[in-house]
Symmetry: C2
Subunit: 579 residues, 2 copies
Amino acid sequence: MDSSATRCVVIIIYGLCFLSILIESKGSSKTLNFKWDVEYMHWSPDCNEGVVMGINGQFPGPTIRARAGDTVVVELTNKLHTEGVVIHWHGIRQIGTPWADGTAAISQCAINPGETFVYKFLVDKAGTYFYHGHYGMQRSAGLYGSLIVDVAQNVKEPFHYDGEFNLLLSDWWHKNAHEQELDLSSSPMRWIGEPQSLLLNGRGQYNCSLASQFSSPPLDQCKLTGTEQCAPQIMTVEPNKIYRLRIASTTALASLNLAIGNHKMVVVEADGNYVQPFSVYDMDIYSGESYSILFKADQNPAQNYWISVGVRGRKPNTPQALTILHYSPTSPTLLPTSRPPVTPLWNDYDHSKAFTNRIKASRGSPKPPTTYNRRIMLLNTQNKMNGFTKWAINNISLSLPVTPYLGSIKYNLNNAFANSPPPETFSPVYDVMRPPVNPNTTQGDGVYMLKFNSTIDVILQNANALADNVSEIHPWHLHGHDFWVLGYGEQKFTDKDVVNFNLKNPPLRNSAVIFPYGWTALRFVADNPGAWAFHCHIEPHLHMGMGVVFAEGIYRVKNIPKEALTCGLTGKMFTDKKH
Amino acid sequence: MDSSATRCVVIIIYGLCFLSILIESKGSSKTLNFKWDVEYMHWSPDCNEGVVMGINGQFPGPTIRARAGDTVVVELTNKLHTEGVVIHWHGIRQIGTPWADGTAAISQCAINPGETFVYKFLVDKAGTYFYHGHYGMQRSAGLYGSLIVDVAQNVKEPFHYDGEFNLLLSDWWHKNAHEQELDLSSSPMRWIGEPQSLLLNGRGQYNCSLASQFSSPPLDQCKLTGTEQCAPQIMTVEPNKIYRLRIASTTALASLNLAIGNHKMVVVEADGNYVQPFSVYDMDIYSGESYSILFKADQNPAQNYWISVGVRGRKPNTPQALTILHYSPTSPTLLPTSRPPVTPLWNDYDHSKAFTNRIKASRGSPKPPTTYNRRIMLLNTQNKMNGFTKWAINNISLSLPVTPYLGSIKYNLNNAFANSPPPETFSPVYDVMRPPVNPNTTQGDGVYMLKFNSTIDVILQNANALADNVSEIHPWHLHGHDFWVLGYGEQKFTDKDVVNFNLKNPPLRNSAVIFPYGWTALRFVADNPGAWAFHCHIEPHLHMGMGVVFAEGIYRVKNIPKEALTCGLTGKMFTDKKH
């Protein structure tokens, strides 16, 4: 893509009004009904047969395509033999429907085998979303799919494109999710290691490569007819047209980087919010994030090009995922002659930070309140507990209760979770640059009770893990809200850092990373009654306790479906009062 | 053992009063309290590491040892991450406590992760019992243990012995139970195959043998120090003493045969009921059965001897399980010089039938009513259903409902299960010697409603499976009752067979096999209010629908713990009536 073409794309984008996203097209909004069965299936996501958790015989699950203002109704039936299930609609704020957030032990009881739960919620805001299991490690088991919300019928996107593609990114292990849970919960902890494969829309190739002549370490050329479950979905473009590529990462672990060989990408959306467009040749995507990029098919149309996705942020041991950008009418099976784009070095954090820092809210986006009512400092540490390895926040490792918070708070049930709130901050003398002096932690299930409509600042503070000179990236995801990302910084956050907060055009997102040894400052308004998870989106980390729970205005929540609460102390309450 | 020694043992047994088992020693009866956590564990049951479902860190689960008249209280906490769990107390009739039978969807809702359910029941009758999971295929996952009920304090066993041993038999697959469930539920069905190992008290050896010089196919000698999880438990005896060996089989699939090299065994108990003692050199044990045998340590005390367990009834592909009968003070690690007892040919059904037909009730055992009120004929067939493979009874393949029958029947809930009762019999022209003319079946969840206190005859009729010239052994197990085994016969049961029923000394049991192409006649009194599973104890067969449900006198059941019913329509009923 030459620079004039890039400029052309950017000009188109700037030329449109971003306020359009706020308009609700009530006249044409619809209710979309889906009946889904969740079950295990034999599947070969990476050409190696395993077992996936699928929906209606599909892996990944069906893509939901709605318009802003529509109501989505998913009747979810659990067809597993002995396991509960829930589905979280990642990025949907569930305004007025906190019981439909799909987080086991927080917004609802897990749906038991044979039972059906109806998720009914408004998709109020156009954007690129996805859904996934939020119970145990069912995301790692393959329970996920895409949720795309188009602008309402009479609304135009603030940029032009001729066609679009969707890429849901995930990572895949050959060890099943139950064994992963056990490994992580064992003393000593057994780390699950790097994924065997990266998947693009549920498709990857293990032990072979689509680009074997370039693969290092060497791999055989994949012999695929195109009909296999693991065959790549080829993206076909027509020369000189502009395409939107929607990208979301539901990885259990991997931080990723995506590039399209020779093609420049213009980032226009992050987590369902428009951003000030900017051009890149590669982009990082952390678990829990979604993006839209535009690209123009402006390269030699006699060739095809690689789309590559590789691991970043952890020393990779997984080959790149590849698929082909195919220029019509060239043959779609013509392999690109060039080397697939090389993923930036896994630990080139400057590259990562440069990308992240370029993400700014688009013009017309809602601005953050200029002050906060409460600041919560959250120290992220890796810890030990009686020989087990845990992740903890302010030295409390989250252990979810049996009774969903939404119910226990609504009905003022004592003993459903810890009475004392978790700590507001951590010791001012904690040295984030070194392993913890005392690595011991405890488990807890306390809740940060937020005053309704108050403005909350959260400072996520990273630290050194248990081993010397190790500090990992953690992508944090907030349920029920978007937050403004006010800033990122190095080492320990201090009050002096506040002056550098971006209050002018901070991006609105539902996910944000903390970089190694760094901090990230977020602001949100606690204006959505419900109980909301806020956690590291790396599933093994959440499993090991890396999360907290916020709750606000639950007294305002009416009509919680009883089916959401037929377990634990709420189940007992319903039961004891009758018969 | 020479014949005079055998006679001596037998004389001791005959000389005692069998009525003693009915005496309840109320003065000394106790309540035994247990707190159990169920969780997955890394374990090496056969020297190959896998994942087992264990209890309190043990595999198999802890042995419960009680006295007749005691009350057992097990507070069972589900520490699994996403799966429900129940435990069935196999052989305990649960008189007055049908909600404690531990059958998911029949007697209770599965216990959800994090929740605790209290099983409280009377062990009214001395005998050799066991317990196991009864949800999905959690028995195959390793959820089982022994339950031994000694005679009450002032009561003597009707035979003498100097010491005793306990052997819980099971089979083990390297493929996890979830994948087994999926394989069996797939279209086309994928058969799970023969187990990788047989386990004695949870211990087996894969890919090596304790008796390698005799193994065929050849296997390396196991190199074990004795401290491994897979090391055999050696049984140490003193010369010339008499021992009781309690044996129970909780296999998922395998029919077994047990022998003690050179030692004669006297069978004295079957399924918690004394039998007329008889001597054998090897004995069959089907899944769901338990036995006690007596043997005298009357062989050359300078040697040790093999105890061997091998597969019968299916073409075996699993090595014998072995352990050592060790004569003190000989070294326990001295390997027997003789070849382990050879398991009778897998398809030598005459041998099997000869053993089974020798089992008669001991003198003084309760006699069956001489007539029946209702006869239910149950045809066992293998079938097809939309490409899936099923097992069906009278052409209905059991598909358990979401709401436990005990609750839905107690509260007269409509739509909890099929209104129409399942068929009382099958077509008189059905040819049991050939594959089904029409192999199609349907699923159902109807119940055989039995008149309280009526006498029920059940004729289990075997048939040819889907393939030509195949008819398998099925060990049927009844919950909530013992039944009298009135007789076994070949081919199709006819009214003329009734004259050969044994009404004089039919054994009281809770499990009985049907032999290939044969029938088995059972009689029981429907005198225990509750909902009771009656099913093939081969777990994959039950998973594929091979069972029925009996219910009787549920209107008499009071005080069902609400925790047993907080799911499905009973859960909804409790919930809807309040709030």
